[in-house]
Symmetry: C2
Subunit: 511 residues, 2 copies
């Protein structure tokens, strides 16, 4: 018994949390209750019942089907229902009148045939791509048509039946719209506005989280990628949120199409408010988000740059990422407060911090390439180079090879792939490299290794190991390049937001 009380308590608590998270939910529920109550009163009370009769029952159906969460969606459904009913009514009356004149035997045949045709045509039309949003309207046409034409046949007066139906639907629709608009309206526009802003916030959070983890991750507590590939990344809430926003991109579009049905309201006072611009900004945001997804991919990739190498560029990466995140947040804030500020200063800071990152990467680019001898088949190298960079450069490359050889002699050549531990003083670095090389070995996957025929792959294990190492160091270059590309895309985001604020006539801040 104690267990059931706790679970009930938990349940109540989660319901309470759910309500507190968005109080509109409660408002919406109460509004639906009120709307059906109002319509029911038309039957329950004596006077309106005597006026309208039992047909008023259709109003209840209309309210229950039409009442949507936001004002715009209700208008949209109402429009579908009204136009659908009207079209169906007109069509039904014409066909029924026509059928009536053909005599008692032909009448049911004509009616039946017309029902078949209407059913087929409406179902086909609702599959047509540009008509998909009006799917509900076609359903309404179908059943309204059937109801009017069939009951008209049995009751003998199709016009009367159609009228009864239409006015009861109209009453239901009026009640639904009135309750929805007049009592604590939930505007789709407002929701869209908030949703877009939350996209900005989640993008900024995900970027910072990803970069933060990348710089903190010393490879010691890295779980097997195999287990985490489709996992929920429990320690990365921002990434999960960002990914779910990416997957729910359709929400922005449906909100925008609802918002278009709404009259000017609240903060969105001028006519033809550019709701479709919100969708465009959302699309550019999605574009930026793909880069964060790629960054996250590098973070969880099996081939990782050594921790120490990452630390070397820590400051620059951190700076660029936090400047970029701040810009994104600032854009989001501007939309929230409907202000239009010049982003030049922030954008410049982002760019200069990115440039600092580029320059740091450039200065220390020799860190990114592994130091080893070029292979014996120098002819291949030669041809490759002459093809690539002109003969002047190919001469250079020979020099480079020589110089690399010199370098190699000074260094501790990593010739034993398994025991690849240079004799360094620092134990921590030693540890690090061991872990790193173990991780390198986990790719390619076991599956292939098991079937390895010991042929040409095992024999050249050393260069393979080296190539993997080189790829590992280049992974840092990838991370930074993706970060730089993200920053480059921010220009477009700034532009899109600027376009939105122009078209929505956001308040221009005094310079």
């Amino acid at each position: 018994k104690f267990g059931s009380t706790t679970s009930f308590k938990n349940f109540t608590l989660s319901v309470w949390e759910f309500c507190k998270e968005d109080s509109n939910r409660v408002t919406f529920s109460l509004k639906v209750g009120l709307a059906v109550l109002l319509v029911s009163l038309l039957i329950l009370c004596r006077t309106p019942y005597q006026v309208f009769g039992t047909n008023i029952i259709w109003s209840i159906l209309t309210v229950a089907i039409m009442f949507e969460y936001t004002v715009g969606a209700t208008f949209n459904r109402g429009f579908n229902r009204a136009l659908g009913s009207l079209l169906a009514g007109v069509l039904a009356i014409s066909i029924a009148e026509l059928a009536l004149r053909t005599g008692r035997t032909a009448e049911p045949i004509i009616i039946g045939f017309s029902i078949f045709i209407v059913g087929t045509v409406t179902s086909f039309m609702k599959l047509w791509p540009s008509l998909v949003p009006y799917e509900y309207g076609f359903r309404v046409i179908l059943f309204t048509y059937c109801l009017i034409v069939v009951s008209g046949y049995r009751m003998g007066n199709p016009i009367m039946t159609a009228m009864d139906r239409l006015y009861s639907i109209a009453i239901g629709a009026i009640v639904a719209v009135a309750v929805n608009v007049l009592i604590c309206p939930i505007w789709a526009g407002e929701q869209l506005h908030k949703e877009l802003v939350s996209h900005f916030a989640s993008l900024a959070d995900a970027l910072e989280e990803c970069v933060g983890k990348y710089l903190k991750d010393d490879g010691s507590e890295h779980p097997e990628f195999t287990n985490t590939v489709m996992d929920e990344f429990p320690d990365e809430p921002a990434y999960r949120k960002c990914r779910s926003k990416l997957n729910s991109s359709a929400k922005l579009e449906s909100l925008a199409s609802s918002a278009k049905w709404e009259p000017p309201h609240g903060r969105f006072l001028h006519i033809f408010y550019p709701w479709s611009e919100y969708v465009k900004v959302g699309a550019v945001l999605r574009y930026c988000t793909y880069e964060v997804m790629a960054l996250h991919g590098v973070l969880h990739s099996e081939i990782q740059a050594p921790y120490n190498l990452r630390i070397a560029f820590q400051k620059e990466i951190q700076d660029a990422a936090s400047e970029a995140a701040e810009l994104v947040r600032c854009l989001g804030k501007d939309i929230t407060s409907m202000r239009r500020t010049l982003k030049t200063c922030l954008l410049k800071r982002v760019h200069s911090s990115t440039e600092r990152l580029q320059r740091a990467l450039d200065m220390h680019s020799y860190l990114l390439t592994s130091h080893h001898e070029p292979p014996d088949n120098s002819s291949r190298t030669h041809s490759r180079l002459s093809h690539a960079l002109s003969s002047t450069f190919s001469n250079l490359s020979n020099h480079a090879a020589d110089l690399n050889k010199l370098l190699e002699q000074n260094s501790d050549p990593p010739s034993q792939p398994l025991g690849h531990i240079p004799h360094l003083q620092e134990e921590s670095y030693h540890e690090m490299m061991r872990k790193q090389s173990r991780r390198l070995y986990s790719w390619p996957s076991r599956e292939v290794d098991a079937f390895e025929d010991g042929g040409n792959i095992n024999s050249d294990c050393i260069p393979r190991m080296r190539a993997l190492e080189s790829t590992a160091t280049l992974s840092l270059a990838t991370f930074t390049s993706l970060l730089i590309e993200f920053v480059a895309r921010l220009d477009h985001l700034v532009e899109a937001v600027d376009q939105l604020s122009k078209m929505a006539r956001f308040e221009q801040e005094a310079l």
Copy 2:
């Protein structure tokens, strides 16, 4: 008049194309027509009308609302409708009986109050995340409850009203399900199967297209990125298709949830067929697609590796990409034909071609770093290095600096950023570099340049230019790293498909 006939002709043609593309659309439309016709006949014909009465009109409504495209979705809707109606009926009868006993004055108050409560509670419950799929069921409960309780109040016999409603709904549901299942059924499972396979194909196409364009693109006909960021990339049909698949990921889920309602059918003969595995494979595919999106980002980024450098690695990149695409296609084909083949051989080929790419990149990694002197603040370099790679390495770096200096003397130092044209024999290379550097200058964006205060940024234009160049060459490293990461993710894709084929008991091919 001629114009209208051509446009009518075009219209007919596009309708014809639309039907031919998926003949199920026509089948579905005809089935809906048939179903409503069958239900209408119950009223139109004399005998059943005498048996059922006018209440049968509710069956028409049920058919029009319940009939869905696939069998599974129809079952799902039918379940919602049946359970909803039943619950509403039981509830309505209890409340109505209760209200009847309280006397004439209290009865409408109790009914009105109960309607309000039911409206509020059902609306609240359908917002609850785990109950969202049953949204339709809650609507049904709401209006069925209202209809029964209200008409029971006016007609005096709630049980009778409820029974009339329920059996007419049952007749409608039976007709809808019978027509949907017995006449050319459209199975959600079959659709899901095809949809997943098409995801595989579009991923492989997009990868090949992207890599192909990257290697072909010599920067000559590159439009401004600003104009193309949100454009439709008209010359990249595979990318567009892949992106639209990425955005329509909800389709797989809705098909899978429909498919769960379907009995074993066609090729999917055993019970508890693992439809949810399809969704998981789809998620892993989406994971791989993010990498292709990132590759596409590099392709259209403003900072590009020189064409000649890309050409240097052409063969390896091309090989790795086409092997990877082939593996993806092969996985798709296996799912299509429901066979289970060993992917080891293919996977090994993909891995070895990727390794060749890694090794090529490693051998020629000096191409990726720009050749210039380290800056004067060698102390900073020193600390960075010692921090990064231990003291042994930092000694090396001094060597490296000296060696780089040597290199620099031999080369033509790119010291004039604007006139940065080394005196090379080949005119084409010269041209290339000019284009390249123009492109480099287009980033950071004009906006910032316009507001540049000529301060600390313009003064160090030369290192800035160099840094951009270095970033440009590293863009190739990024491209290949992303490609390698794509290949690494293929392991998980192979695993997911393997899991699916195990659970779905695909036919094991003889070894």
